[in-house]
Symmetry: C2
Subunit: 200 residues, 2 copies
DNA sequence: GGCTTGACTACACGATCGTGTAGTAGTTTG
DNA sequence: CAAACTACTACACGATCGTGTAGTCAAGCC
């Protein structure tokens, strides 16, 4: 695929613009003409390079997935809590995360596959760290969804905090808060069991 | 506003269809013609009753908010853990939640206000339950986002579990799993502090 | 009876969308 | 040098969108 050295070409600019606009406005909300304007090219060139809007989306999916795995690999070298540290560093990852989340919601197979791989990773992580929930798969799926939640509701969270979480400062703040959720047990296992029986 | 007795009118059917389609496909993804067809009326009638698509959306916002608060009030009578029990019962609430989440993501003020009210509620709840995070506001915002995350990623979670979480059974399963996240501390406060220093 | 009013439909409008076609400029290749 | 190829633009197409207009039909009121 493209090497980083080629990353100033029109094709790369179009792809980056697509990831940014798709992520912000959703797939349907960003037109090819918008993307072309954002990239500073004609709309025909988008078609020339990517064929169709759907193909452009698939190309963005592949690129975003590749980059995220790349960034994830870098993080695991630095930290040992990578499975739980979704918000660590790398502001580069933010637009990628936004795009992937949007792509998931619009039913992309590649993005969904990335989610499933994340669930698998969390599942293995719980095993190796001696965490034994009653429903390990469900637990892993819930954690995977939680990891992405602040990206989805970035505007709402920013408004609640009075601080833009897309900036480095706000990014760290909500990241810390999310970590804190995992440090304070809010319920005992007994309470959960009671609730389960109650609902049945 | 409308009483439940009037709820079989064409106006109510349009509103329900709009909430369902908006929730599933997003605001831009559901056209007025689609909604009209789903409600079994002409597209002109949608305009007759609601004026414009934006007005229809606002009407849906108001109705969904009202209904959710209503359902929330009923839940607090039955349970005492309502602040943490987003998935309890009421399958009626599911399409409403989906709609509200979509409306939030598309920048609705009413839906965002509902989120902020939720953050306030969680914040008060932590205080009264003696939970004292370092960043109470951030903690509450993170919890509020988490509460909604499984709705956003319902398709992905369902695929990961091999079980449709829009059904009662899957609904309960992921709900229990989400509860378990709050019972098992994954990190110590010390670890979080170390991470914070490391990132600064 | 006539007359208003509200629910409802059919149809046409301009705008915007994704896509298709034709063509230009510059580089490469034989 | 000519042919071929690539990057790129301009423009036109059909479809679909939200919206506007005109009109039908039935119920209620004078």
């Amino acid at each position: 695929m493209e090497r980083p050295a080629d990353d100033l070409t029109a094709r790369a600019r179009i792809r980056d613009a697509a990831i940014r606009l798709f992520g912000e406005r959703g797939i349907e909300g960003a037109s090819i003409r918008d993307i072309a304007a954002e990239a500073g090219v004609s709309s025909g060139l988008v078609r020339h390079h990517f064929g169709s809007k759907e193909s452009l989306r698939e190309a963005c999916d592949r690129y975003a997935k590749e980059r995220m795995l790349q960034i994830g690999a870098e993080l695991t070298q630095d930290h040992d809590l990578s499975g739980l540290d979704p918000l660590a560093l790398h502001p580069v990852a933010f637009p990628l995360q936004l795009y992937i989340v949007r792509s998931m919601m619009d039913g992309s197979e590649t993005a969904t596959a990335l989610f499933l791989e994340g669930v698998d990773a969390v599942e293995e992580w719980t095993t190796s760290y001696g965490i034994n929930p009653k429903d390990r798969r469900g637990y892993a799926a819930a954690l995977a969804a939680i990891k992405l939640s602040v990206f989805v509701f970035r505007d709402q969270v920013s408004k609640a905090l009075g601080e833009d979480i897309t900036t480095a400062a706000g990014y760290n703040r909500i990241g810390q808060a999310l970590m804190e959720v995992f440090t304070i047990p809010l319920l005992t296992q007994e309470q959960v069991d009671n609730m389960r029986n109650q609902e049945k």
